[in-house]
Symmetry: C2
Subunit: 453 residues, 2 copies
Amino acid sequence: MALQVQPYKGARDFYPEDKRLQKYIFGKLREVCESFGYEEYDAPILEPTELYLSKGNQEIIDEQTYTFQDRGGRSVTIRTEMTPTVSRMVAGRRQELAYPVRWYSIPNLWRYERMQRGRLREFWQLNADIFGVDGVEADHEIILLADRILRSYGAKPDMYSIHVNSRVLTEHLFRKYLLLSETQEQTLVRLIDRIHKMEKDSFLAQADAVLTPTQREDGTLDKLMELMQVKRLNDLPESVMNLPCILALKRLDDLLIESRVTNVKFDITLMRGFDYYTDIVFEVFDEHPENNRSMFGGGRYDGLVGMFGVEPVPTVGFGMGDVTLQNFLEAHELIPRLVPETDAYVVLLGDNLYEKAQPILNYFRDEGLRLAVDSTNRKLDKQIKTAVKKGIEHVIFIGDAELADERYKLKNLVSGLEDQHGRERIIAMLRDSRRTHGVPSVSDPALDDDFDA
Amino acid sequence: MALQVQPYKGARDFYPEDKRLQKYIFGKLREVCESFGYEEYDAPILEPTELYLSKGNQEIIDEQTYTFQDRGGRSVTIRTEMTPTVSRMVAGRRQELAYPVRWYSIPNLWRYERMQRGRLREFWQLNADIFGVDGVEADHEIILLADRILRSYGAKPDMYSIHVNSRVLTEHLFRKYLLLSETQEQTLVRLIDRIHKMEKDSFLAQADAVLTPTQREDGTLDKLMELMQVKRLNDLPESVMNLPCILALKRLDDLLIESRVTNVKFDITLMRGFDYYTDIVFEVFDEHPENNRSMFGGGRYDGLVGMFGVEPVPTVGFGMGDVTLQNFLEAHELIPRLVPETDAYVVLLGDNLYEKAQPILNYFRDEGLRLAVDSTNRKLDKQIKTAVKKGIEHVIFIGDAELADERYKLKNLVSGLEDQHGRERIIAMLRDSRRTHGVPSVSDPALDDDFDA
């Protein structure tokens, strides 16, 4: 029986054209992270399962991860997120590191889940974190970094919006302003986390069910619903206006404006799924009418490093998945035309040319040219059609006469222009053309009339 | 109980300084592969177990891989090598691809094995393959590519040697020259594959045990041992000298010399472990006296793509592991001093400077500078010491006076030189210095006398 050619379900093969797009996308991630002084790190894709159990989520481990026993009887999990790993690594060098520590990584992650748009079982996720800064400057920098990443692809501020909230504020509002218990707060936080996926009546009924009869009589549900309508910090109840968390949110807003990040909204309904956030959280939404949804987010999580038996380290970070990012770029038509890295396809004019061409090929490559040589000994038109099919813009022709004259024909398959040049000129021309790549076309009439070999 | 900070056994954390080395090593791999027109691809780290069973090696699956059942009852394996995967991908697009196809990848692979020098459970491996070329030109190109990769790190030809053999020749010698059966051939091939790890007597005894009494009488063992001594093609028995496989090996040698690959040796004992090789094979050995061993290899495997129910495709490729490569570079002192990507550490001179500095930081970053800002509000000496500890060469100082004058102090922590400059000059200086990075030192006396803030 023949083997299957499909990849494992929920995962992707990256053929060169797919990989090229991934390299473009990851290249920008790296460039922008490094422009803020973030250094890349990495870690094994397998982690001891304990690392994920720390949050007490046995159910998630059982149902949403790839977890198995290794031959030594140890339970291992294919990593589902990078935050536990990076916390482990910082804890491992808690004393030696020079703070603030700025780290990023683009790990491959796996989750065992039902496939839907923007969600595969396998994905990549940029993780960028700053460790060791207590102040809101760290929150500002992380949000600014996320903003600059989207802008680096050519995104305009009206294509996305950045929603900001504070866990500390949420807790204050639920406990001190609405006078709810901790359990009630937790239930409502989880409910509000899903508010945009529910009918209003359903939300009201479920929220009401959380309340005690006395709270119902006091009109707590109305007060809650009023709060949920608040769109600006200044519309919050008077009694919270001087809390440190409000002052921090205001300063964050000022700092972002100073850095020309203009599409930021206070969003009181923003809860974020993970339990580890401790203060300011944010989420970035796609504003495209057909793709309008949360893309990614992050926030402050000051407690995680401390779970490894060392002194805690204040931390702010975010994760940005490759699939949602690519959907965003596609929806807004922000993906440029990408071409192979190969500068030229080398067509050999006759037998035994492969051997004779080696010295000049060596020379060209030593000078930095990227050359694919046709070593099939086929007819010329077949060789040229291969170059066209590969999307390579230039062809260099090498034959006995060319080697004797030390002048080679360089043909541009996009413009159809061709001419004989010395080797230095060819090197200069191909280097120049890297900036202005075109994609050759098989239907180009210039292709057919030259070679009837 | 606190969580463990160590990574999973046999796998590595890559802290930024480790990742920087990996990026340097992988960067060269990508650069050289692309200079030969190879395009990068990738595939999921999980594969259906069937993919590896095709070679009938249930034992290897059971004992040397991470294999488990997913929740859908499907057996999956964390990939142990890339060759089955790339064959699957080529088979999946057998008709559409433009041959010759040149692909490379640097996958993360896992094998469940006992740890020893150069062998971890987790590693990376460059895989480069050319599909669709029957002739020895493909073998030549793959060996040349491997050679150019080592040279790209500064390796000299006397640091390594390239051993070449031919499966077709081996088969002919065993079957037609020594007159052995197919089973005897297979047993001896496996034995010779381990010849350099055995005592000579042990080898002789085991080889002798394979033979029949008649073969013993005919002196077959002596003939075998004589063959094993052959170091040059021309010393082979007269009767094989005109075989096509010998002519191919000779032409390969000529081609390699034409490309200035001078450290190639015919090695009749070279067998390669994998069963899928069909013709010429090669292996690269480290010639360092303390690290003398096989580093990596490859060869022609024309049969694999055909296992997916499509017409076979002639293929030559090799795999090069990151751990052995790094050991080689270390043994020969070929690893350069690497510094962080950050161009400068920004020290803020006083309160509220973080906000005021945003416009100039924006400007610098828009111009391509990579800047880490100290947002901790600490004393100056602490901020500078952080830059030193991070190995960042330059510090930019920003205070109220600097912002008013639009001139900023730039200090080189290596030379100790400092001066005030306008922003364009700072951009130009930092761009220039990327080529000549130094590593700052805490003991630099120039560090201490400036700032007693």
